[in-house]
Amino acid sequence: MTQESIPNKPPIQQPLPLAFVNGEALIEKPEDLYIPPDALEVILEAFEGPLDLLLYLIRKQKFDIVNLPILQVTQQYMEYVEVMKEIKLELAAEYLLMAAILAEVKSRLLLPKRPDAEDDEDDPRAELIRRLQEYEAIKLAAQEIDGLPRMERDLFGATAIPDAQVAPIKIQPEVGLQELVLAFHGAIKKAKAFEHHQIEREVLSTRERMSRILDMLDSKNYVDFETLFTVSEGKAGVVVTFLAILELVKESLVDLVQAQPLSQIHIKLRDRESDVWQS
């Protein structure tokens, strides 16, 4: 207490000052000291945290941060915190922490000063003063940034419409001949895979093929064996057709004839009426 409230000047007799600020007596209690509790909530929202509140308390009483009057500030701060604890508990944590820091600084100030301690570094308020200064600098910087002319509020982009003839220029991708050849290679390779896939999926049933072949044939005329095969069906399709024909032969539904070895094979429906094997 002695450290901060005893002025350098000789004491003044009457009236008894409440405090001395930078050597000047502060006779009247600052008006800001008392804040009605119902107004506190509103004021609290105006503070950006304990440092901001501390700064407010210091500045309102025209104290100098460097001569931080820790005892008064702590006392006032505690009053705020007490009311805050009742109103806004969740907000109080950071404020409580500051209260603890203030209490710590205060208690250290009350300890007898060690004679060998260096003046500057020994001041327990140093860290708090540093933080207050740092925060105040940022607070002011934020105000300055807010004051800069900015887009949307003070400045508006001035633009003109491009003339109707202005049209985007598109740079077309480049393609090499080699790329084209590879793409063709890829497409053909895929086609092979695809053909295979399709046949696997849609099982060409031999029965179904048998009925289709029967449908294509009649009992009067022979047709070329080869015309039954559709090459575009792929190899598997050809095989299914072939299997169907073998099945038809086995079931004696068709006749196959070949005039001589290696010549064309002909096929027709077995003529049931003239079929000696029937019945």
Partner: protein
């Protein structure tokens, strides 16, 4: 700015037209930026007329369109200004390159035929891109139901790839997959063999079908 000077009026009107998102009519100017400033329409018109003259020698001009006044670039600058919106088109997809290659090697070809080979549908976007690039064009219609368009490559296509004619397209012989024609020949050869076996006296119909089965199985392995 209770009483606007002519210079101030001109500044304000000029700035308003420049910053507005759309053309500004005299009415709109009166209702917004000039609200409460008691500027007669005559004064406003004079300011606008002066601004038109001020900008006459510049790169942009003040023009009146149906909905009001706006600044726009001088038309003679358009070829250069267009370069501001230069954009790199994305690289061509595999699907596009395959479609192009099929048109190049198998022309004239229908979209359906391309789809048959590729096994997936060809998007209209691809055909549009190729047509817009003037590499591909419709050369006729196939005489089948629906009369689908037949696509072929253009002279611009040959020029781009530095080819004198289509015969200069790289031959596909090195490619292991047999071109369609060769494949047909191979199929015929195999059929012939099967036919031979059917005729063979030593074979029962049953064993023939066994061979055919194994043949079918083998196909599935491919």
């Amino acid at each position: 700015m209770a009483k606007l000077t002519d210079a101030q009026l001109k500044q304000l009107v000029e700035a308003a037209i420049f910053v507005a998102d759309e053309p500004l009519s005299k009415d709109k100017l009166q209702l917004t930026v000039l609200e409460g400033l008691k500027v007669s329409n005559k004064r406003l018109e004079a300011a606008l007329a002066e601004l038109v003259l001020d900008y006459a020698p510049r790169g942009i001009q003040l023009v009146e369109v149906s909905t009001g006044f706006r600044f726009q670039s001088v038309d003679s600058l358009s070829p250069w200004l267009s370069k501001l919106w230069q954009e790199q088109a994305p690289r061509y997809s595999r699907a596009l390159l395959e479609t192009l290659s099929l048109i190049a090697y198998r022309q004239p070809i229908t979209r359906g035929e391309i789809e048959d080979v590729r096994g997936v549908s060809v998007s209209s976007h691809i055909i549009k891109t190729l047509t817009e690039r003037e590499w591909v064009k419709v050369v006729g219609h196939k005489e089948v139901p629906g009369r689908p368009a037949l696509y072929a490559t253009t002279k611009a296509f040959l020029d781009y790839f530095g080819l004198k004619n289509l015969a200069e397209l790289p031959a596909m012989q090195s490619i292991e997959v047999l071109p369609e024609q060769e494949q047909e020949q191979a199929d015929e050869l195999r059929l012939q063999k099967v036919a031979d076996q059917i005729n063979s006296d030593t074979m029962s119909s049953e064993s023939a079908s066994t061979i055919a089965d194994s043949e079918a199985n083998k196909e599935q392995l491919h």
